[in-house]
């Protein structure tokens, strides 16, 4: 009995120590600032992409009037809050759209980041919830990153906030407990996505049989490039199909290993970029690559952006 008690005592202490280290060890805020720019760009693109057809979708005589959407989703009764549900006049819809785009732009530029991060999330969610049947794989990843960026001071670097505080000579933190939590949440949630993507693929026979990539190539109205000539290379189709599944499952597990991580992050780039021409899911593939930056060490990001000296220079406001 004593050994059992010792085991659980040791287990508890070990798990507790690892948990504390994982979630609360101070981490550099620089990756979050880079993620802010990436997510901000994608959020701005997302809002902007509604511009040409704004009233066609959300207008009072649009393709999806509020009453129609509510019949499918239950509307705000089912916790789908959107400020577009309160307006039914073209002028008001346009006003909300322009204000939303400006808010997201401010977030991208890193101005009043603590406020604009939350507002940007509300903006993007309002488009999502106004017509959830129009959303695809891209929106959940975008809103996930935006939500977690709300927790952290993601305007500490590469932002107008940082520039302003530097001008004023203010000294601030370069780490934050919330920053660590935010970054870890993005990492964990992304890992869950990868595992889910890999496992749901295996629920279909086509991914086991190695033909799934062909079924993507064969979409005449979704693909960006016609690669049907690859019907003459079935082994290539098979290999590509298997590679996607193996990669997604491997990423979900091995990205936590410091030796495997760099390889997986590098392999992720061609893996996702090659999916773009056969699926047409440009925004989704790009957003996943942006989210992957959560796993790139701060040193590497600083070096890549020429900011290596900044960590020990006069810090700027968080």
């Amino acid at each position: 009995m004593k050994s059992v008690r010792n085991y659980f005592s040791g287990l508890s202490a070990h798990v507790g120590a690892r948990w504390t280290h994982f979630w609360f060890e101070p981490l550099d805020l620089f990756p979050l600032s880079v993620l802010r720019i990436g997510a901000g760009l994608m959020a701005f693109y997302y809002v902007y992409s509604h511009t040409a057809d704004l009233l066609r979708w959300f207008g009072p005589r649009g393709l999806l009037p509020i009453e129609t959407v509510e019949q499918f989703t239950g509307g705000m009764e089912n916790f789908r809050f959107s400020y577009f549900n309160f307006v039914d006049v073209p002028g008001a819809v346009w006003t909300l759209h322009i204000i939303g785009a400006l808010v997201v732009l401010l977030f991208l530029l890193g101005l009043f980041t603590r406020v604009t991060s939350v507002l940007s999330l509300i903006v993007v969610l309002s488009y999502v919830h106004r017509a959830p049947m129009l959303t695809g794989q891209f929106e959940p990843v975008l809103t996930m990153v935006l939500f977690y960026l709300c927790l952290a001071p993601c305007g500490s670097f590469l932002s107008l906030d940082a520039w302003w505080h530097r001008r004023r000579g203010e000294r601030v933190k370069t780490t934050s407990p919330l920053g660590t939590i935010s970054l870890r949440l993005i990492q964990v949630h992304l890992t869950l996505f990868y595992l889910m993507m890999g496992l749901t693929k295996l629920a279909g026979q086509t991914w086991w049989a190695g033909s799934a990539v062909w079924w993507l190539i064969a979409h005449p109205e979704s693909r960006l490039v016609d690669w049907t000539a690859l019907h003459a290379a079935p082994y290539l189709i098979n290999a590509w199909t298997h590679a996607i599944v193996v990669f997604e499952l491997a990423f979900g597990v091995l990205v936590w290993n410091r030796w495997a991580r760099p390889l997986l992050l590098v392999i992720a780039v061609p893996m996702w970029l090659l999916l773009i021409p056969i699926t047409g899911l440009v925004s989704f593939c790009v957003m996943i690559l942006i989210a992957n930056l959560a796993f790139v060490p701060a040193d590497w990001l600083r070096a890549a952006l020429g900011r290596s000296g900044e960590a020990h220079a006069a810090p700027v406001a968080a």
Binding site: L192, A218, I237
Partner: protein, 214 residues
């Protein structure tokens, strides 16, 4: 985690034990919700579905619910094909494919703008057997074209663009992906306009709607 640039010790202090305790509790709850929401993406069990229903306020509001979003990309089934919505204006010949107005009708294929129209068409196809919802959606589309685009619709339908196999290409050389056998019509309806009212009457037998040859 790889070594990062750690600032001076006075700035590297961990948060207080109270903060860590409260944060840990919230993290556990959040991760539980998120894990269930992600896990339920594909064919959830009854247990998972019911538990997720109780967490709906949190997971739906923040868009954690994946709602059968096809992250598997394809399983090669009839659901994993391209859809389109087509509208036949009054006085046009239903047998002539080019006389139908098709959605998507704008945008580059890789843009979200284009994808939204495809997803609308998928919804119409998916709910084809749900008379109420399919009629509601078809009515909204027909009303939009009547009131905004100045097109008086006679018929509306969704069409699935079926896929060719590798064997089709190997056998035929250059098969026609737009051939008549590559199309399926999950939903079709006649549109009846009386004054400002638009009504759609679903078509259950093929003979009631003249199907085009392409």
């Amino acid at each position: 985690m790889a070594k990062s640039t750690v600032p001076p010790p006075e700035e590297a202090a961990r948060p207080s034990e109270l903060f860590r305790t409260v944060a840990s509790l919230l993290l556990c709850i959040h991760l539980f919700c998120v894990t269930l929401a992600v896990w339920a993406n594909f064919s959830p069990s009854s247990l998972l579905y019911d538990v997720l229903g109780r967490l709906e306020a949190y997971t739906t509001l923040l868009n954690f619910n994946l709602n059968y979003t096809p992250y598997h990309l394809t399983h090669g089934t009839g659901e994993d094909v391209d859809d389109r919505i087509e509208l036949l204006p009054q006085g046009k010949d239903a047998a002539q494919a080019e006389q139908w107005i098709a959605l998507p009708d704008v945008g580059w294929r890789g843009s979200d703008r284009y994808k939204r129209y495809q997803r609308l068409a998928e919804v119409m196809s998916y709910f084809a057997q749900d008379e109420e919802r399919s009629a509601r959606l078809a009515t909204s589309v027909a009303e939009h074209f009547l009131n905004v685009a100045d097109v008086e619709p006679a018929q509306i339908r969704s069409r699935k663009h079926l896929l060719l196999t590798m064997q089709d290409y190997a056998a035929a050389g250059e098969p026609d992906p737009d051939g008549p056998q590559q199309w399926l019509i999950p939903y079709a309806a006649n549109v009846v306009i009386s004054g400002d009212e638009v009504e759609v009457i679903g078509v259950s037998e093929q003979g009631e709607v003249a199907l085009p040859t392409n």
